[in-house]
């Protein structure tokens, strides 16, 4: 059963389909790391992104790139609404984390309900056809969706880490994630940083949902199901460890796809929950993957402040 051909195909398809899982997990992990929010409302951003793209491409028959911009716009609008009308207000009221989490759950269910009212709940895709052209590379079937998905995901990851590593706003984001109160004492406007983080997360989600919706069928509650994966990858990768989250999303994607070669297929869906259960009970800090310091280096608020003053 485990021939090199099968292993190569499973690895390739897993790599390609992990693209959107990585983007969802990275967005979730980023908001958790910097804003300190367990943002289940990301599902609402995903739903808005998909239906914006579907409206433009699937219904209005506009070109794919307009659908992509629509997905980004849909996700951004939800992110801004959630941050400005939700998170910011709750922070001012010093609401408890549990209350904030419940708020994000309600937002995700609310948007799914609205989507169902407007679009119905029949499964659909951004493009009318489910088929992508396939090229055989050796013995591995590579679909026309795979390469753009992998390349755009790599580009998105690179941009996020370059942002965090080399830009002032990125360093401020890292400083806020370390200690938001201290960062503010040194002149970093944390509310602005929280907003920027939500915008970055929205861009990742918009791209991820465009990729997902152009390959698989989506219903209004699909995003809520997908969030389980993002949460699992974030917890198992180590809370706040962005590189760990990415690696875990990739590993979980491969395990999910490849597990059918080793275990009865009925247990495939169970695996994710089993890993999540084990991670929460036995590894509450996640699997200790080495932090990718060169890309997400820890930056003190003092350093950012000093740099600000120097440049001023």
């Amino acid at each position: 059963m485990l021939t090199p051909i099968i292993i190569a195909q499973v690895l390739w398809t897993s790599l390609a389909t992990s693209s959107y899982y990585i983007l969802f997990s990275l967005a979730f992990s980023l908001v958790l790391k910097i804003n300190g929010a367990f943002n289940f409302a990301q599902a609402a951003m995903m739903t808005a992104a998909f239906y914006a793209a579907y409206t433009l491409v699937g219904i209005a028959h506009l070109p794919a790139w307009i659908g992509f911009l629509g997905a980004i716009a849909g996700s951004l609008v939800l992110a801004l609404l959630t941050e400005l009308l939700g998170f910011r207000l709750l922070r001012r009221r010093r609401s408890e984390q549990l209350f904030v989490f419940i708020f994000t759950l309600i937002v995700s269910e609310f948007v799914a309900f609205i989507a169902m009212l407007i679009f119905g709940s029949y499964p659909t895709t951004i493009f009318s056809s489910l088929l992508w052209p396939v090229t055989l590379v050796g013995t591995v079937a590579v679909s026309g969706w795979d390469i753009p998905a992998i390349l755009s995901t790599i580009a998105a990851i690179a941009i996020v880490f370059l942002l965090l590593r080399f830009t002032r706003i990125g360093q401020a984001m890292t400083a806020v994630s370390d200690n938001a109160e201290l960062a503010e004492l040194y002149g970093i406007k944390r509310e602005r940083i929280f907003l920027v983080t939500m915008i970055v997360a929205a861009l990742l989600v918009g791209l991820g949902m465009f990729l997902y919706g152009s390959r698989a069928q989506v219903q209004p509650n699909t995003a809520i199901d997908l969030m389980i994966f993002a949460i699992a990858a974030t917890i198992m990768g180590g809370l706040g460890n962005l590189a760990g989250t990415i690696v875990m999303a990739l590993v979980l994607g491969i395990i999910q796809n490849g597990s059918v070669l080793f275990i009865p297929s009925e247990w495939q869906g169970f695996l994710l929950y089993a890993f999540l259960f084990a991670a929460i009970v036995f590894l509450p800090n996640g699997i200790r993957l080495p932090e990718w310091r060169r890309m997400s280096r820890r930056v003190s608020a003092e350093a950012v402040s000093a740099q600000n003053k120097q440049e001023a």
Binding site: S121, L131, A216, Q256, V260, S265, E266, Q268, G269
Partner: protein, 387 residues
């Protein structure tokens, strides 16, 4: 005076004539007497609503047609429609409302998981649940108050498996099924019948209802080298499984059941759908009554209904209920679930407008011909009628 007399006489004659016309029309109006209520619990929202809404539409047309022709001995039929989202819990809530609030003696439901969940409620309340469209073989074993007008999975999947093993001469089959009520039981039936008819099951695998990628599963199928792949899934996953099959170079014959027998499936898969075989449990467009019915759909909605065979059964169901009500009225019986069941079994065989003769067997099953359809030149075409 003479003129007045003549006018009065003419007026009297006109009144008498009008009264005669009114009395003659009375049976056709069906508005004066107490409505006879029954329930319909269907998915009007949720992932299955595409089918559910069309099925409700078909039943509503039937009720309208019955009432336009005088109802049941002058009593109009009244159908109370509730949403289940194809969710068992919501199905139970709908059944409770129909039984406790609306006091119906019978109601129609569908989707195997929903029918199964409702059955104990119907049994406790002694109210008849008519399953119309659900096809799990378990439905025949749900107690005294759940009956089906729709052939169970044993019928169409048996016919399909036998046809593929014998007529088509397929020897090696792979069976993929969604791991829920819809998939597991029917997949087992296919496996048993295909094997019994000389075939070999070379791969037999379930998949998670939330799955979005089937690469590993399909590579196992490819390695097992079947000459037919039977997929027992739902409308959300089956097209995706087929699309990934074709992308991975699995070009063997694919079969499924009536869930994929719709135009949307063809639109999603284009040429990749060519050759796929499905089942249908109701006559197709070659039947003049069905052709008229489809014309009605096209006029009203500019399309054919989703899941045409299911809607045919839903159109027929109110006629069955009408016949039972008529018998109850004729025998001066109270409109209770117990009496409904008694009369329904006493009548036994119903002549229904679209799907024809239906006999309610004592073992809670019905037996009808199975129609096999295949995608040829981008269209569904009937290839066999299996009796």
């Amino acid at each position: 005076m003479g003129n007045v007399k003549r006018i009065l006489m003419r007026l009297g004659m006109a009144l008498a004539l009008s009264a005669g016309v009114v009395f003659a029309m009375a049976p056709a109006q069906a508005q004066d007497k107490t409505p006879l209520q029954f329930g319909l619990a269907m998915p009007l929202s949720g992932s299955q609503s595409l089918y559910g809404k069309d099925q409700v539409q078909a039943a509503e047309w039937a009720v309208k047609d019955i009432n336009d022709k005088g109802g049941v001995d002058g009593h109009p039929l009244k159908m109370i429609v509730l949403d289940t989202q194809a969710d068992p819990q919501l199905g139970i809530q709908a059944a409770n409302k129909l039984i406790s609030v609306e006091h119906v003696p019978a109601f129609i439901s569908a989707w195997s998981a929903v029918v199964k969940a409702i059955a104990p409620v119907a049994n406790d309340a002694k109210v008849v649940q008519l399953s119309v469209g659900a096809n799990s073989p378990d439905i025949a074993r749900l107690g005294d108050y759940t009956y089906t007008t729709f052939p169970l999975a044993d019928v169409d999947i048996r016919a399909l498996a036998k046809y593929e093993a014998t007529t088509l001469g397929k020897k090696r089959a792979a069976v993929l099924y969604i791991n829920n009520e819809t998939g597991t039981a029917a997949a087992q039936v296919y496996k048993d019948i295909f094997t019994k008819n000389g075939g070999q099951i070379v791969d037999y695998a379930g998949y998670d209802p939330n799955a979005s990628d089937w690469t590993g599963l399909l590579l196992k199928v490819r390695a097992s080298n079947p000459d037919v792949v039977h997929i027992q899934g739902l409308v959300a996953d089956t097209p995706q499984v087929v699309a990934q099959m074709r992308q991975l170079g699995l070009n063997m014959t694919v079969s499924s059941y009536s869930a994929i027998y719709n135009q949307h499936f063809l639109d999603q898969l284009g040429s990749a759908a060519e050759g796929i075989i499905a089942t249908s449990l109701a006559p197709g467009l070659s039947d003049p009554k069905v052709a008229d019915y489809v014309t009605r759909w096209k006029k009203a909605t500019n399309r054919i209904p989703n899941g045409l065979p299911y809607t045919e059964y839903l159109y027929d169901a109110p006629y069955l209920i009408k016949d039972v009500f008529a018998s109850m009225l004729k025998n001066n019986e109270k409109l209770t679930g117990e009496n409904f069941r008694k009369e329904m079994l006493a009548i036994g065989t119903f002549n229904l407008p679209l799907t024809g003769k239906t006999t309610m067997s004592a073992d809670h099953t019905v037996n009808k011909p199975v129609y096999l359809v295949q995608v040829k030149d981008g269209k569904w075409q009937q290839i066999a009628e299996v009796k």
